[in-house]
Amino acid sequence: MRQTTTEKTTHPALIFWIVAGWVGFVLLPWYGVEDFWFMEWLTDGWPLDTDYAPALFLLLQGEKPWLWPVLPALAAPLLVMRRPKTDPLYAQILLAAGGFGFAWLIAQGLGIGIRGWNAGWLEALFGPLGDRQYGMGYGALIVASAFLFLFTQGIAARGAINGDVFVTGAIGGVIAVVTIFVFFPIAKMLLAAFVTEEGGHSVVVFLSKFFDDRIWGLGCLSGARCGVAWNSLFLAVLVGVLSTALGLVFALVLTRSGFRFKRSLRAITVLPIITPPFVIGLAIILLFGLSGTVTTWVADLVGMRPTRWVYGLPGVLIAQLLAFTPIAFLVLIGVVEGVSPSMEEAAQTLRASRWQTFRTVSLPLMRPGLANAFLLGFIESMADFGNPLVLGGNFDVLSTEIFFAIVGAQYDQGRAAILAIVLLAFTLAAFYLQRFWLGRKSYTTVTGKGDAGVHPEMPRGLAIPVYAVAAIWGAFTIVIYGMILYGSVVQLWGVDNTLTFKHYITAFAVRIEDGGIRWTGSAWDSFWTTMMIATVAAPLTAAIGLITAYLLTRQDFAGKRSFEFGTMLSFAIPGTVIGVSYILAFNIPPIEITGTGLILVISFIFRNMPVGVRAGIASMSQLDRSLDESSLTLGANSWQTFRRVILPLLRPAILAALVYSFVRAMTAISAVIFLVSARYDMATSYIIGRVENNDYGLAIAYSTALIFVMLAAVGLLQLMVGRTRIGRRMSHEQGGG
């Protein structure tokens, strides 16, 4: 019966984490093991070989003596297993043991590096260590998690958040992972910007690098070249403004006109989302490049020599607009539809003409959407790597400069860090400006309540230009995609236009021999890696995103606003910056994961998490809070409520988060290009490599294949997640009263 639940002395969550802690300490290899999941280490000297040994066996062999203090911290929680939760000792012991254990693990991880002590004062204090640290493995990971969740259970037992173990654990978990995988790398990167050639730290070095003429030069005003920062900023503002305007045009055609082919219009505008961004750059080269169709045609017509005019700002701008307008559209369609028709109807009954209604009511209510769309376009443009690389010519932008600073002949981590800081400053500034401009309005536009009205059509003066722009842009998009498809089956673009499947065959050939399939095509390696990493990353991204959204919409706790800011911050961090900071942070112990598939998965999770959070928040705020409350008063705890009531009602959001993170993991390039290794090459970086070798045919063929794979994957996910059975009327009525 329910009354008994409060005095019970068995705590399943507590026992689970205590056991997990001991398993991590006694059974699992403490340090990182390559190819852990092949389990070869089990037969290869475990548990005594120091490479594979669990922490306890390391200690017993006299190795890594700094791990001794972990033992009492693991033992202490055993004392509270039979105590009731209300016992003050219960909370105190868990807080002390969990807190100390977690802090100690962090301290030893940061304090001891690959060459012994990390800081001079530690060496002075304790003498030389004569030992070194390796990258943490699953043993360390599990023990650290155990400490963290024991600590949060201690907090819960103290009475925080009504003593809710699930909620406190979730908050602690999200804070921990965001700190480790967002804040820690960024901090590392900031630090790297101060490093001198001798390895010390200096502000002067930072300043001289920061105010370098190559970054901030204003030469373009007098005919020379401008600094990369100005180039990036100018491009990003242009892309932000134009993609927002174009997105609005399509949203208006779709919601406020009698246009008949709305479905196909939607399809066309959504298509670029499943297209790797630089593919559009390739298509533009095929059209407008030196031997491009349009260029040669116009040149013949006018009798001029074809030029390379498209390389530089015009080409990058067109490509980015094609790539990011659909994103602006997706943001704006929700907002444009969300403007309550009854507001517009009210304005009309108050004697406003259609145009006045649009200008004074509809447009101001769309303000948050416009701001969001601009911000997205701005950030995407800043972070875009593929298109500037393919089409940039002499027009340098921050993202490509960062790349060349890291991988080029100069190999200057400090410069890469500085450029990344500039890039980050721009996007964060845009993020802040947007929040400042919107104030607190952005949350109130969509109420989720039913509305019986009908959106009025656009005023005529607006409709004609809107139609014209939409038609031209739509046609252009179709041509671009036609080029992509066509380009993939042409022998050699502009030189030999005979049709052929040879690019597909080179990339995706299979041979059946010896009763098995041999994937002989050159693209298969990167293709399977991409599929695997996208499949692993998508559900994790959705899970973290939705749990965060649940905490933000449904729970109140101290520091919730900074929590929200922290989780949304990675949204304003361009992929290029993530890439650089991950290399700087995770190349050395305690977390040494560069060159693995894991770092790719993690970078995708934290790159795409904000979208999961946003999708979750949007749909959760449409679920009436009384649903959770009634579940709680019926005796379900918060985890049961989350699983049985919230999650089933969130299927559309789950689908959105899954699809988005899957697709992004397959198409992303900006962070990936820094993190791939020979072993884990991704499709996009492989394609970029082909492009750099002028192997356009193969690159385009591979991209086309990716587009179809993503279409199939999106359809499959839709089937798997299924539809929620909710009567429409019900969901309206919940909002009432």
């Binding site: 019966m1 009384s626 409350e629 579940s631 709680l632 009531v645 009602l649 009525e733």
Partner: protein
């Protein structure tokens, strides 16, 4: 066949205060005792703290100060999950992705019943509210009244120590309201449940309650059975909030025993003193209790006359101010401009202290 039984318990508030944020006081130092098996209504205008009080019983809000006891157990710090209380929400809060039967079984699943017993109890709950055979439907396939009954059944089957209703009738149309409120009262009395019921509709409160707690500005204005509140309001707020009252300024001239001599614009009258001392006071006159007399009343003229079908509504004006009155006599109504005398009957007018 499992039925639905009652394990009714009392609810006690000891100096409970609820503060939101830093200084928004939603409930201020409230003490009250709800006897087991009684239906108690929390009544008051919006923002008076009644819903917060209810949610503190449920465990959806935590008291900032004071103690809350259910039965004999201190539940002040227990979250909703661990309290033996169920609640019927204003919006019903039926889970839209579950069938009616799944909704009703939901709480039983967490109470340690076997599968078959869960099913039996849920079916019993549904038949108690007259919804046999609706188990397989989705909430969206039911009418508003049926949804409301599912919500009641879902709360009832847990046999809670206390059952809470948060404005359960506000989403129903007027005719259905009377019907459902009678049903709720009937189930409560048949099963002997402790029910706490929030409403802002005084007629609803008078109709269903054993006892009414009138709240105002985060505190309790008066507690009592419906009749006592109506006939002997503690102050002008309660007098006006329950059943509408004309408030007329008066002067208590003298008090002898528990009878007060009252003067209203020169007219004298004797009334129960209700512990008041001589000095200025207020007289509460129910519109239905106003009688026109031949002589010895307050002189007034008829200002407005409205015919509303079953009765007439009048506004009388005199030196004492304006009063609103209703009369069943629709055949020979007064006309605007007529002069009348308003009588002060022996029972009916009530002295209330100036609030």
């Amino acid at each position: 066949m499992a039925g639905v039984n009652s394990r009714a318990a009392s609810v006690v508030f000891e100096n409970v205060t609820k503060i939101y944020g830093r200084d928004v006081v939603a409930v201020n130092d409230v003490s009250l005792r709800i006897e087991p098996g009684k239906l108690v209504t929390l009544l008051g205008p919006s923002g008076c703290g009644k819903t917060t009080t209810l949610r503190m019983i449920a465990g959806l809000e935590m008291a900032s100060k004071g103690r809350i006891l259910i039965g004999d157990k201190d539940v002040t710090t227990l979250p909703a999950t661990d309290r033996d209380v169920s609640m019927v929400f204003q919006s019903y809060a039926l889970f839209p992705h579950m069938t009616v039967l799944e909704n009703v079984s939901y709480g039983l699943k967490f109470s340690g019943y076997s599968k078959s017993e869960t099913r039996d109890r849920a079916m019993a709950g549904l038949s108690l509210v007259g919804l046999d055979g609706y188990g397989g439907r989705l909430p969206s396939e039911l009418s508003g009244g049926q949804q409301q009954r599912v919500a009641v059944a879902r709360a009832l089957v847990l046999e809670p120590e206390v059952l809470l209703f948060d404005e359960p009738l506000s989403n129903l149309d007027a005719k259905l309201r009377r019907h459902v409120r009678e049903e709720i009262r009937e189930i409560q009395q048949n099963l002997g449940l402790t029910v706490v019921y929030v409403t802002h509709d005084q007629e609803e409160a008078l109709a269903v309650s054993d006892e009414i707690v009138v709240m105002k500005n985060a505190a309790i204005a008066q507690i009592g059975p419906p009749r006592a509140l109506y006939d002997a309001p503690a102050d002008t707020f309660v007098a006006d909030f329950i059943g509408e009252a004309n408030l007329i300024a008066c002067e208590i001239v003298s008090v002898t025993g528990d009878v007060a001599e009252v003067a209203v614009t020169g007219v004298r009258h004797s009334l129960p003193a209700r512990g008041l001392k001589p000095g200025p006071a207020t007289l509460a006159l129910r519109p239905s209790r106003i009688r026109i007399v031949e002589a010895g009343g307050l002189a007034a003229t008829v200002e407005k006359v409205t015919y509303v079908g079953p009765r007439m509504e009048y506004t009388f004006a005199g030196d004492f101010g304006q009063v609103f009155a209703v009369s069943d006599n629709v055949d020979t109504p007064y006309r605007a401009g007529d002069g009348v005398m308003i009588g002060l009957a022996a029972s009916g007018p009530v002295l209330v202290p100036d609030a």
